[in-house]
Symmetry: C2
Subunit: 285 residues, 2 copies
Amino acid sequence: MFRIGEFSKIAQVSGRLLRYYDALGLFKPTRIDLDTGYRYYSAKQLPELNRILALKELGLTLDQIARLIAGHIATDEIRGMLVMKKAEIEQTLREELTRIHYIESRINQIDDEGQLQDYEVVLKSVPVQRLIAAREPSTTLSACRTLVQEIGRFLPARIGGKALSHFAMIFHSDLWDSDGLDVELGFLLNSNLNSDMDMELALPNGKMMRVQELPAVETMATTMHLGIPESGHRSYAVLGRWAEANGYHFVSPSREIFIQPPYSSAEDEMVVEIQLPVKKTPEQD
Amino acid sequence: MFRIGEFSKIAQVSGRLLRYYDALGLFKPTRIDLDTGYRYYSAKQLPELNRILALKELGLTLDQIARLIAGHIATDEIRGMLVMKKAEIEQTLREELTRIHYIESRINQIDDEGQLQDYEVVLKSVPVQRLIAAREPSTTLSACRTLVQEIGRFLPARIGGKALSHFAMIFHSDLWDSDGLDVELGFLLNSNLNSDMDMELALPNGKMMRVQELPAVETMATTMHLGIPESGHRSYAVLGRWAEANGYHFVSPSREIFIQPPYSSAEDEMVVEIQLPVKKTPEQD
DNA sequence: ACTTGACCTTGACGTGACGGCAATGTTGTA
DNA sequence: TACAACATTGCCGTCACGTCAAGGTCAAGT
């Protein structure tokens, strides 16, 4: 019989841990002196403790171990737990690998340029969304800007602000042709309204707006652009550098979500989220 | 200006997180209504929040981020932090790889044999230790057992129990020759005594015990053996199966540490830790 | 018998980054 | 004016312990 101190030295664990496991009912001393409360452990308990520590090492929680020890779990369930644990660890392993890549590119950036930047690029995934928009298969940027004003002022008055979320632009043209843009202009719809699936609506200038579904995108590289629209190219440049450094390439139509649109306040107060769908470039280390 | 709910939706974080960051002073709303306490956020703050989230993604703590944002940290320090983080992640990555191997072998064991076992094998590293022992270059197991009794009873009486730790056997013979064993028998010494470096001491039967240093071992596969010495081979078998399953092989002299020695209680109450130094077998997946 | 120092006890608080809940106050619309 | 939807602060819980703090116990030496 050892007192807790000596036993903890033999087992190479802390006394606190032994008391904690006792309190949890996970591993109890063979005898407790009723007068003093001293815990007395027997050397025969060492394998039991080691089993617990080994299971902990496997990544099981103390709660799982307790139920396992108590024998309330079939071997099939144990195997299930281990398989799950394995999948879990493999997942975090992949995540950590990308974290390392991420960190490496940051370190290189600091080395190259002496400071941090591009922190504004955020990867997100967006769900399916509904959109009411008019498509302009061949237009120019400046024409877009007047249309943004028109639609932005007309639609909320016409439909009521509650149904509408942010103003959005979808860029369908694959390459940038400054007077042959294929864009869609309109509003994202709040998802709580699931009626009027096929609504159409005419703008004052005669253009038709249709309700449609915007597909979900799994990985979207996004950045916030602040200020006048003319400086938008800088944000695109940031996204481009980021994609290059992190091994992504752009794939399908990009979007701009107007968090603070130019028709509701001054143009230099504008806030736009630029969203570029991306995919991992196949690695070639 | 958005209230916390809308802002949290735009930024895709919880309101709770925004309040938490406010409380930490990490990210504050642009305006707080003094009457109601309502927080008002501006869209212009989105890049700032994204920066914070990106840094969090890199694995920095909120505290580090706060100091980084406050600008109290030079770029060199940031690089240092990132390099450290990278090393840290690489470390846990390696650990998780071995965890996966470990789990895989467990899963295979369950498949093979329908139940869990070998949980009693524990990897540990042992430091340098001092030992007072007599070497028997050619002896048998039964001779050893009488010697254990002799030394175990004689030495504590002679030297005083305080200086002595556990009784130990060191097996120098590389292969198992049941009547040509090369073993060392004696006591581990408590490290608090650093005097008598070269003490020698004669046993009643004339054999000499010498104080010496037992080298440290980095990875030791250990298991607890309970009960009579005759069943010791089972514990060795357990260690062997474990080593095979986990890709280790045995290297230098093995040890047995008598936690509950046979001379202080009944032989079937004996508790011995068997320690086999191991190395990773070079992988060949 | 006393002291000393090492050991043990319970209990409470802290960790990191929030999630969840409760009690209460505010806003905007019908 | 009523009501739903929003907001606030504050507190507890997470997970596996580490770290005190205040006090009780034990063995050895004086």
